[in-house]
């Protein structure tokens, strides 16, 4: 989780990722940042994020992104 927060802060340092629950809905993460985030996640956690998983509900908070990573790791 710490690694994920570090990645997120690298992409947009202006957000408190421990509390923010509307990363996508609040436009803290735009489409381009999500692309960069996906690349970083795939590189650092050795998972592949299919396009079908790119929905606001999976990316609205650091916790939810972490859950997605864990789920994809399990699937692998």
């Amino acid at each position: 989780m710490e690694k994920l927060i570090e990645i997120l802060e690298g992409l947009n340092p202006e957000v408190d990722y421990k509390t923010c629950e509307d990363l996508v809905d609040g436009r803290h993460l735009d489409s381009l940042t999500i692309l960069a985030l996906i690349s970083e996640i795939e590189e650092n956690f050795d998972v592949m994020i299919p396009t079908v998983e790119i929905i606001p509900d999976n990316f609205n908070s650091a916790k939810k992104i972490w859950k997605l990573i864990e789920r994809l790791e399990d699937d692998n």
Partner: protein, 520 residues
Amino acid sequence: MSYFSLKYLIIFLLTIVVVYIFTPKKLRNLLLLLASYALFIKVSKKLVVFLLLSTLSIYFSALLMNKLDLKRNKEIEKVSKEEKKIIKEKYKSKKRIILILTILFNVAFLFYFKYLNFFKEIINIIFSSDLKILKIIAPMGISFYTLRALSYVIDVYNEKEEAERNIIKIMLYLSFFPIILEGPIASYADVKNEFDKKSSVTYHNFCFGCQRILYGLFKKLVIADRLNQFVKIIFKSYMNYSGSTIFLGAIFYTILLYMEFSGTMDVVNGSAEIFGIKLPENFRQPFFSKNISEFWSRWHITLGLWFKNYIFYPVSLSKPVKKLSTFLRNKVSVRFSSLTMGAIALFAVWTLNGLWHGAGFTYMLFGYYHFILILLGNIFEPLIIKTCDKLKISRNTKIYKFLQIIKTSILVFIGELIFRAKNLTVAFGMLKRIFLNFNITNTNFSIGLDIKDYIVLVFALIIVLVISILKEKNMNVREELSKKHIVIRWIIYYALIIGIIIFGAYGPGYAPVEPIYADF
């Protein structure tokens, strides 16, 4: 057909509402389906065959893919991890064939009806050939229902959506009369539960639906049709006017387009609301956007979401683009890599977005204009942030945000000018005059509009602006209105009805705006 016509509102919609009230709950969807097909056949006659073929193709391919999913799940129950992977891959490729065939089948119709002539035109230009341009009439709403059809079948392929067994619901999803002509391009997930409710026409639903329809009529008849007087002359004979007058024409056209399209959506959503069906919204105060990207997340929202879900992410995360992005990330930087991924996907999105709006070079230019603006916005965003920080300019002040809104609006006006222009020569001619012949003191306001028109326009626009500001502040205007005393409510309704009757720009001397998006 127009949703603003008395034929639709008084004869068609009202008749369906009355019949619906007396229809048993289990037959309500069937009634809506029959009404939708009746309307479709009335407008497009035997072309209904194509709507049926599209419906059947997605219905059966979704069922087939679902069957394969179940078979796969059974097979992978008691096998090793390695075997699981092989089995999954085997079924995925089978499903992929079904998906590709279904997409091709549906896109082929769209291509024939919308793009064949444009394609021939291009071939004629390139090879100086003489391919015959045919007179083709497309089935009503083909651009809208095809996108809905594709979204359903792709969602089933991705197992995001279960295949629907009830064919009436799928038929209704593609043909539902309020959405057939101009959207919204709802996903199946957006509407399936709404169709399941088979709600009654309650007093609340009826009042809310009618309020919404009235507001749409107000935007269209009082504002859009009035502005059309000015707009049609400017775009027809722009060479007779100064750059500032042409720019005013571009502003008026943008307002006209917004009032016409969002007004149509009010009638569409209002019509559905009468039956207790809530459709997704297509507009969220677009003129409060601070950049073009944001504008497109507030304007024609369902089309933007469709392109985001089915073009932007699949293209940017496709194998070749990912390979390129890994290479760039290692050799250059993460930012450059994501910018490139985004640029490739944006190019695809805006090429298709331009073409979706129409088979013509002005639409393509309209698409690429937005592609360039969004790309430049993405590239220069960090630089702007840095410059503001250095100059100690706060980006959170009201004045900064206001200037951003003005900048975005000007860019939108130029984009819509390209969109409306008859051809590229006209578009460039108008732009040239705006940039080279701009003289604010030489602006002609009196083209097709007199002082009374301007007074009506100012009052009407203030009403729309106040409602937009309240909505932007997350106030549910209609809910708030419903809490007011019945006398106040009815005064407002009557004011709106009388306002439309007295100030609506119809009758001799006025030419109503044709349904713009219905042609796409």
